[in-house]
């Protein structure tokens, strides 16, 4: 099974690597943040697969930390991309 998990981890990583092309090409910064978000999900999957292969239970804690902070960068992006510091983009389309 170890080989299977290793192969699955490599496959997911390869998919994620292809997704990185979006970080390269953009065209908008939103696409880039999104691609990083994809990498986060794929990275957690690869981490768990590799973790099963090395049979270390604490890897679940690493995945938990990553999952908890997954949205943090995206929120920082949305906040920073807002034209005025106190405009909340989440409030924008309920006018």
């Amino acid at each position: 099974m170890t080989e299977f998990f290793g192969a699955a981890a490599v496959f997911v990583l390869a998919m994620v690597a292809l997704g990185l092309v979006r970080i390269l090409r953009g065209p908008t910064d939103a696409d880039r943040v999104m691609a990083a978000q994809l990498l986060g999900t794929g990275g957690i999957a690869a981490l768990l697969l590799v973790g099963e292969a090395t049979a270390e239970p604490a890897i679940a804690d690493v995945a938990l930390t990553l999952a908890l902070l997954a949205a943090f960068a995206a929120i920082a992006f949305v906040k920073a991309a807002a034209p005025t510091p106190d405009a909340d983009p989440a409030a924008e389309d309920r006018a």
């Binding site: 170890t2 290793g6 192969a7 981890a9 490599v10 990583l13 390869a14 690597a17 990185l20 970080i23 390269l24 953009g26 910064d29 880039r32 943040v33 691609a35 990083a36 990498l39 986060g40 990275g43 690869a46 981490l47 590799v50 973790g51 292969a53 090395t54 270390e56 604490a58 890897i59 804690d61 690493v62 938990l64 930390t65 990553l66 908890l68 902070l69 997954a70 949205a71 943090f72 960068a73 929120i75 920082a76 992006f77 949305v78 906040k79 920073a80 991309a81 510091p85 106190d86 405009a87 909340d88 989440a90 409030a91 309920r94």
Partner: protein, 312 residues
């Protein structure tokens, strides 16, 4: 698994190259986020789960948010900077220098001594005396506790450095912009749902640190991130940095650490030595005292220099 290692290594090198050569700064920063995530994977592969946890919390959360915010604020300076791009000669020399550094390090890696020098045996032999089960915690808080004390103080100094760049008019004020609260917005929603879970996870990571991978840095980082989430959603505001509770909270951890160190000097004959049988309780006290200070210092460092002078 060599294939997995090699593919991760290649991916990291490709991302590192992207971070360095990308034209748009924002693209480079996003590349750096992905790079940090892959590093977490590498630490797992290198059997450093404690390090992976630190990288996941700091590299994945705090550094990413810090750099994304900075890149967005500096966006309008980018065009001017492109004109300053050095000429071909400088680039060639830089490439040569980089190659020389890489070659030298590669030679070092390939000629590392066999068998590898290691302190693992010494740590294993003496870990029982500290009564903690996680060797990393044993190193951080018993064998090399001076490093950890100085690190806590370095973090404080870095925060003072961040604060000291504030203009005189807003000294003592609140860091960062005021975020407007939209009570029904999705940002407020996640800032209400996530922090309770995050605080539990942070405390859990902190608490298991004595015997399993985890510890105060990782736990403090998670809790700091949760606090900043509520600030970004407008549910809470950053306190003015002149608040007394804030200043006390910042120095309480390092002061407790120093006090226990001095107690060791009296009771066990050396600064930061633990009297026999008291190692574990003292380590737990240090960690408990240090964790809130670390969470405060990390969150305030990310929030940056004071920007608003309202002291209400």
């Amino acid at each position: 698994m060599i294939a997995a290692d090699a593919s991760v290594a290649l991916l990291i090198v490709a991302l590192g190259a992207w971070v360095v050569v990308a034209r748009a700064t924002f693209a480079a920063v996003t590349g750096f986020l992905a790079y940090g995530l892959l590093l977490t994977l590498v630490w797992v592969r290198l059997h450093g789960v404690d390090v992976a946890l630190t990288e996941a919390a700091i590299g994945g959360g705090l550094t990413g948010a810090l750099l994304i915010g900075a890149a967005a604020r500096l966006r309008n300076t980018e065009a001017a900077a492109r004109a300053e791009r050095p000429g071909r000669l400088v680039r060639a020399v830089a490439a040569l220098a980089a190659l020389a550094v890489t070659a030298a390090l590669a030679v070092c890696v390939l000629t590392l001594p066999v068998p590898a020098p290691s302190l693992a045996r010494e740590v294993a032999a003496n870990l029982a005396a500290t009564e903690v089960g996680n060797p990393i915690t044993g190193v951080l808080l018993a064998f090399r506790s001076m490093d950890t004390l100085l690190e806590a103080i370095v973090l404080l100094f870095a925060l003072i450095g961040v604060w000291s760049v504030a203009p005189d008019g807003v000294w003592g004020g609140r860091p960062g912009p005021q975020h407007r609260l939209d009570p029904d917005g999705i940002l407020a929603y996640i800032a209400r749902v996530l922090p309770p879970i995050g605080i539990i996870v942070g405390m859990y990571v902190f608490w298991v640190g004595a015997d399993h991978p985890g510890g105060k840095f990782q736990g403090a980082t998670i809790i700091a991130a949760m606090w900043l989430l509520t600030v970004m959603a407008g549910l809470t505001d950053m306190p003015p940095i002149s608040r007394r509770w804030l200043r006390i909270g910042l120095v309480a951890g390092p002061l407790a650490f120093i006090a226990i160190g001095l107690y060791g000097a009296v009771a066990a004959g050396a600064f930061l030595a633990y009297p026999a049988g008291f190692a574990k309780p003292l380590i737990v006290v240090i960690e408990l005292a240090l964790m809130p200070s670390l969470a405060l210092v990390l969150a305030l460092m990310l929030a940056g220099a004071p920007q608003r002078s309202d002291l209400r």
